[in-house]
């Protein structure tokens, strides 16, 4: 039962370092060590926090809430044929809205600081997550429609990638969509550049600009766990649930590593979008998810 | 056989005209073509009801509209000679070659008895008209030509979609034959939703040709920019082609359950056309554009006539015929007006009665005729339309149409009176007005006289022909 939870946590240990390493190698450098991001977090734990006078309660509790929601979402994902820790009908809606709750708290904490830059970033972040939500829900709904169940654990138990042509097409589209959604939700290129230092161009980074010390560490841990979370979702899509457990463990880490490398390469060879192209870019994802929906409609014989 | 000869010779004439070196040769060839067209019409009258070359039938509607085309051939050619008399030989040839091609394709479209053949001929007319609209080679002409070809192509593509939907009705295994007679056999078992969709596509697609509401803008631009003799032809006979296409599909579907739906759609389209015509005519400053809006209004009336049913069917066909005669004479007059006043703009025109009384009389008579003021013959079909609307209880449509028609009467009559009697509003650069031999107006007076004659006496052969054409429609 806890296997999924533990595996995701373990994968999160490697994930950010792998992305950084890939980006460095693609730029021709050697890059930092694999565990460097976590060493940074340990350093942060040792530091104290500085809170501004204008910030109130929300600012102090937001990072903890974020981490708590991500951990709660981790409880919902299954692994192999075991059920997840929490599993009931319609739990993918809880999944999406737990993550949304975390984001909500980050947004209002950003507004709580009273800084206009953070407010600007918060409004953009709210818009982009709103636009990406239909894509995610349509995708999940098509999963549910295809297999006939509405709980993550049960859906992935019954989803086989090698059905007929249409299932293959659907899985390819679904995997592509999940990768894109993951990159948007985690504020990566081409929507948001995590390395930018110009506040006018920041979206996610600017919201967490004022946190320090322990809180900052919590936020970073939440981000890394979210990455691994999406990686686990993609893994569940690709690999059928019935295979040998040890093989699956190995495949799990392989898929996560591959995911990290793909993100690293995609980031290295892409420029950041112009800000007003972003809504169009994200809405395109919803359009593609509609196509996936269409494919499933054809598949389940609801459309000839 | 005669039809085959007609088509082959027309194509040959059109091609040879392009190659001739002297104006006299082109003029002779065009007159030869006019003679051929008139003899084809006579042949059609004699052989009413028969089918030639598998795809062409001389049924009543075709014969009626073909006769209108034949009547208008000689005046068009005559006025065309006068209009293009100062052009280079090459442009002269292109103009007349295009004219021959256009009239051939229109004749083919009238006579076709299969949906696809009709469609092909309508597509061909678009190309011929484009050549003619661009005759002046000005920038406005270029713009109008491009818009015309493009939007007509889109309309034709949509009409083809409608035809495809008709094809869907057949299902598997039948040898499909898209001729109208064989459609009648399968139509009663077809899914009504398909019929509705097919009708809407066909209506929207052919409304580019007929000048009805959804795609009327292109015809307005084309008619105001084309040379006046060409305008006379395309504003009347080409709109008749569009009308015939829609009418054939309508009469095909009228035995099924989609009849009320089609009537509603047609009345709506007609009402919106008249509304747009009235609105724009009140601010029109270009005389040919005003006449183009008048064509739009008359086509709207025809659509309402068909949608109303009963008396409306007879009225629609009569209105189309009379409108062709009256509108063409007005357009011929516009050609002469441009030679005397050197402009079409309302602001720069005036004192026409003093400068050229014969032409001004044509304008006055033509105005009376086209606005359906008695003694114009067009009053009869309009009265029948109102009667049909009252019979159906469509009071709102009736009141709206009457109010809009009065706007149009106001707009057009003030403008034409202004041109005839007042002095120009802007006495800008006054060019010496040209002079035109009054003999040239004879053809226009003859056409208008026919229209006025119909008001008092409707010859039995005409009544018979029209009644035969509407015989299949439900009473």
């Amino acid at each position: 039962m806890m296997a999924g939870f533990i595996l995701i946590a373990v994968a999160a240990l490697f994930f950010p370092g792998l992305i950084l390493r890939t980006k460095s190698v693609a730029s021709g450098r050697k890059g930092p060590g694999l565990f460097q991001p976590w060493k940074d977090i340990v350093v942060l734990f040792k530091k104290g926090s500085v809170f501004s006078d204008t910030a109130g309660l929300i600012f102090r509790i937001a990072p903890s809430v974020t981490l708590a929601t991500v951990a709660g979402a981790m409880l919902l994902l299954p692994f192999a044929e075991q059920k997840a820790v929490l599993s009931f009908e319609g739990d993918f809606i809880l999944f999406a809205y737990l993550l949304a709750l975390g984001r909500f708290f980050t947004i209002i904490a950003a507004l709580d600081t009273g800084s206009s830059f953070e407010g600007m970033g918060a409004s953009r972040e709210a818009l982009f997550s709103m636009l990406v939500e239909p894509a995610f829900f349509v995708l999940m709904a098509t999963f549910a429609m295809f297999t006939g169940y509405t709980s993550f654990s049960v859906i992935f138990n019954h989803f086989y990638i090698t059905g007929n042509d249409y299932v293959l097409i659907y899985s390819i589209i679904g995997a592509y969509l999940l990768v894109q959604i993951a990159m948007i939700e985690n504020s990566r290129l081409p929507v948001d550049d995590p390395k930018t230092h110009l506040e006018l161009t920041m979206i996610h980074e600017v919201m967490i600009l004022d946190h320090s010390g322990f809180d900052k560490a919590l936020i970073h841990i939440g981000t890394y766990l979210k990455f691994a979370l999406y990686g686990s979702l993609i893994y569940n899509l690709i690999v059928p649930a019935g295979w040998n457990v040890f093989l699956q463990t190995g495949l799990f880490f392989a898929v996560q590593a591959l995911f990290a490398v793909v993100i690293g390469f995609a980031e290295s060879f892409r420029a950041r979008n112009k800000m007003n192209k972003n809504p169009k870019f994200i809405l395109t994802l919803s359009a593609i998810s509609l196509i996936a929906f269409l494919v499933i409609l054809i598949l389940t014989e609801k459309l000839a | 056989m005669i039809l085959l000869f007609f088509f082959i010779f027309s194509v040959l004439l059109s091609g040879v005209t392009l190659l001739s070196r002297k104006r006299a040769i082109t003029m002779t060839l065009t007159l030869v073509y006019a003679a051929m067209l008139i003899s084809l019409t006579v042949h059609a009258w004699i052989n009413r009801g028969s089918t030639e070359l598998v795809y062409f039938t001389y049924d009543s509607n075709a014969v009626l509209l073909l006769s209108v085309l034949a009547i208008l051939t000689l005046p068009t050619v005559y006025h065309g000679f006068i209009y293009t008399s100062e052009d280079t030989v090459k442009r002269f040839n292109i103009y007349h070659s295009g004219l021959i091609a256009l009239m051939t394709f229109m004749a083919g479209a009238y006579l076709a008895n299969t949906m696809t053949v009709l469609w092909i001929f309508v597509e061909a007319t678009t190309l011929a008209v484009a050549v003619l609209i661009y005759h002046d080679r000005t920038e406005m002409a270029l713009e109008a030509t491009w818009k015309y070809v493009f939007i007509c192509s889109t309309g034709i593509a949509l009409a083809y979609l409608g035809i495809l939907f008709l094809g869907f009705i057949y299902g598997r295994g039948d040898a499909p034959n898209l001729s109208f007679s064989s459609f009648g056999l399968v139509i009663s078992t077809a899914n009504p939703l398909y019929l509705k969709i097919a009708f809407i596509f066909v209506l929207v697609g052919f409304s580019t040709k007929m000048g009805l509401f959804p795609m009327h803008t292109v015809t307005i631009d084309a008619h105001s920019v084309a040379p006046p003799p060409v305008s006379a032809l395309i504003s009347t006979t080409l709109m008749n082609v569009g009308f015939l296409a829609i009418y054939r599909v309508y009469s095909l579907f009228s035995v099924t359950s989609v009849l009320p739906f089609m009537n509603h759609v047609l009345v709506l389209a007609g009402l919106l056309s008249i509304l747009i015509a009235a609105g724009y005519m009140l601010k029109a400053k270009h005389l040919k554009r005003m006449l183009a809006y008048s064509s739009l209004e008359n086509m709207g009336l025809v659509a309402i006539a068909i949608g109303a049913g009963g008396y409306g069917y007879y009225a629609a066909l009569l209105l189309i015929v009379l409108h062709s005669l009256a509108k063409s004479s007005l357009f011929y007059q516009m050609g002469q007006l441009s030679r005397i006043l050197h402009t079409f703009r309302l602001d720069d025109s005036g004192r026409y009665m003093k400068l050229y009384p014969a032409g001004a009389m044509v304008l006055m008579t033509g105005m009376v005729c086209i606005l359906a003021i008695p003694p114009s013959g067009m009053f009869i079909p309009e009265l029948m339309i109102f009667r049909a609307l009252v019979q159906n209880g469509q009071w709102f449509v009736l009141v709206a149409v009457v109010i809009l028609l009065s706007f149009i009467i106001y707009a057009m009559s003030t403008r034409i009176m202004h041109v005839n009697f007042s002095s120009p509003r802007k006495e800008g650069d006054v060019r010496m007005p040209g002079s035109v031999n009054p003999v040239e107006t004879v053809s226009q007076f003859i056409l208008l006289a026919i229209v006025i004659l119909i008001c008092f006496y409707q010859p039995p052969f005409l009544v018979d022909l029209i009644s035969q054409g509407t015989a299949l429609l439900p009473r």
Binding site: D165, L283, I298, A304 | A144, F168, Y170, H286
Partner: protein, 204 residues
Amino acid sequence: MVNYLIVIFAITLIYFASAERLSTYIRLVALQGLLLCGIAVFELKEVNLGNLLFIVAETLLFKTIVLPYLLGRIIRRSGVTRVHHQAVPGFYLILFSIIGLFISVILAMILVNPFINTIYLGIALFTLFTGLLLIVTHKLIISHLIGFLVVENAVFLFSLAVGNEMPMLINIGILLDLFVGVLILGFFGLRLKPHTNELTMLKD
């Protein structure tokens, strides 16, 4: 196999709404021509060989090679800036495209007919909608021309749906390509400028 082609076709239509450069449009049109050729080859099994060869040749040559080449020449010759002008911001284009996809799928489910493949109907309706959307929301006349090409592809798809019984309909639909050829000739012959977006001289 046909299923893959149809899904890729639908994806190209969505790409139309989100593309920014005119050269992307031309590449998409060429890709659509290729996909249509493939669909025709796999779908029309009951048509006699000569007719099938004609259709395949026409689609391949005309739609995939000749037309994009001519369009590319127009763009390069007139130096139209690579970003096309539109009257509506890109965001709304995608939104309308999505709404169009919805409407086409619903319409196809309503119009279900045992004799036609419903998938063709749905995708053809979506193609029609996208083509009309392109014509209505763009200002450059070269974009209008590309929109017309997409409408033509819709007509081709529709006629493929009944193509096995009535191959004549497909042949006549190909005549529409002739029209496009004439329109393009107009660009060359009349020296139209593709970035003419001031077609507003004809007023009252």
